[in-house]
Amino acid sequence: MTFSAWMCSAAAVLRKDLLVEFRTRAALNALLLFAVSSLVVVSFTIGADALARETKAAFLWIVLFFSAMVGLSRSFVREEETKTADALRLAAPPEAVFVGKLLANLATLALVEVVVLPLFFGLLMAECRNWPLFLLTAALGTLGVAAGATICAALVAKASSGGALYAVLCLPILLPVLISAVNATAAALTGAPWAQAAGDLRILLSYSGIVVTASLMLFEHLWTA
């Protein structure tokens, strides 16, 4: 298959996943509900003043991580549960399936962040001193989380248990992303110089790249018989 045909395949998978998700809305609802209620609970109980900026940064990524755990495994688990996975195997090249689902998870996380970030700044009264850094970190961090979460979802789809296993699997894989993202976000909130966060941004970028590459290579072995 030529590269452009392959990209069309991936785009078709993305479109289909978003369409199906939009019709059922199961994963998105769970994600949003979790994220919003976590923010509300913390704001309500601990209060924004009691938290240092570094803590707020950490909290943001904890919420995003667990939201991903709540919602992103559906991308593959649902295919196996409803037995549509075989039809997909017959029709689509494996890499296109992975990329399509990665993009779908990325879109889902981005949508959640559109809701969560304003709430984060509002409810937790966070101030951002360096917006470009914050946004860049959010983008790269989201990419890293989506990449790790997607390949782990493919793994979990083959297992017979569910949610708890997914989080256990994702944690070691996503830890580099979380640590770097929290560091860089804290730097953005406290107004630290770019140089301080540069190392973390480099790690985020390279790690995301490596996870996606490794996943693409490994996915075929996982997906086909």
Binding site: M1, A5, C8, S9, A11, A12, V13, R15, K16, L19, V20, R23, T24, T82, K83, T84, D86, A87, L88, R89, L90, A91, A92, P93, A96, T224, A225
Partner: protein, 203 residues
């Protein structure tokens, strides 16, 4: 000229041998019926050829004339597979399903034409969650035929179909014959009779 060859194909599940050294060769224009009692491995055999299951031993090769055998990815593209195990996307309509698979496969065959062919013409816009099992089976047939496959694998194709539905199957098999090969697994004597030859998996 298309050929499909199985060489000593075996499959064991957790120690139980389901397929034991199955070998055969079919050439273009052949319809092969596969029969055997329940559990004799008909579905397993077709799943292995379709690339959905890895054999424990032996090989599946398909190719054209004197050219070297096709890569698995090529075989997957030239394959059409119908099976009771297969399912399509319940929350999408029939047309949306076919449209999706067309894009994913990179083929341009018009979904409406396919829907008419299998007799689902007027029902293209309903979500298939509301379809009867017979209608789902027709849609699966449309799915299999979509990419104009050279190798058509049918596992119990008529199982939920009415008279008209079975006629569609007969027509599809007849039209497929000059294009490539058909492997049809069934216990229904009428369906088995469609084949030029019968492979019994019992023995």
């Amino acid at each position: 000229m298309l050929w499909l060859r199985l060489a000593n194909l075996s499959k064991s599940f957790d120690g139980t041998k389901v397929l034991d050294s199955v070998s055969l060769r079919v050439e273009q224009g052949t319809v092969l019926s596969i029969s055997g009692r329940n559990g004799s491995g008909k579905t397993t055999l077709l799943r292995i050829i379709a690339g959905l299951l890895r054999p424990s031993g032996g090989s599946v090769e398909c190719g054209e004339g004197d050219e070297p055998p096709w890569q698995p990815a090529r075989l997957r593209r030239e394959l059409g597979y119908v099976s009771p195990d297969l399912a399509l996307y319940e929350s999408l309509s029939a047309r949306e399903n076919l449209d999706f698979f067309a894009r994913v496969r990179g083929c341009t065959r018009d979904p409406n034409e396919l829907l008419d062919y299998v007799g689902l013409g007027g029902r293209g816009d309903e979500p298939i969650g509301s379809f009867s099992s017979g209608m789902r089976q027709r849609l699966k047939l449309a799915f299999a035929l979509q990419a104009s496959p050279r190798v058509l694998l049918l596992d119990e194709p008529g199982v939920t179909l009415d008279e008209a539905g079975r006629e569609v199957v007969v027509r599809a098999v007849a039209e497929q014959r000059p294009r490539g090969v058909v492997l049809l697994a069934s216990n229904d004597p009428e369906e088995v009779a469609l084949g030029d030859d019968v492979l019994r998996l019992d023995v």
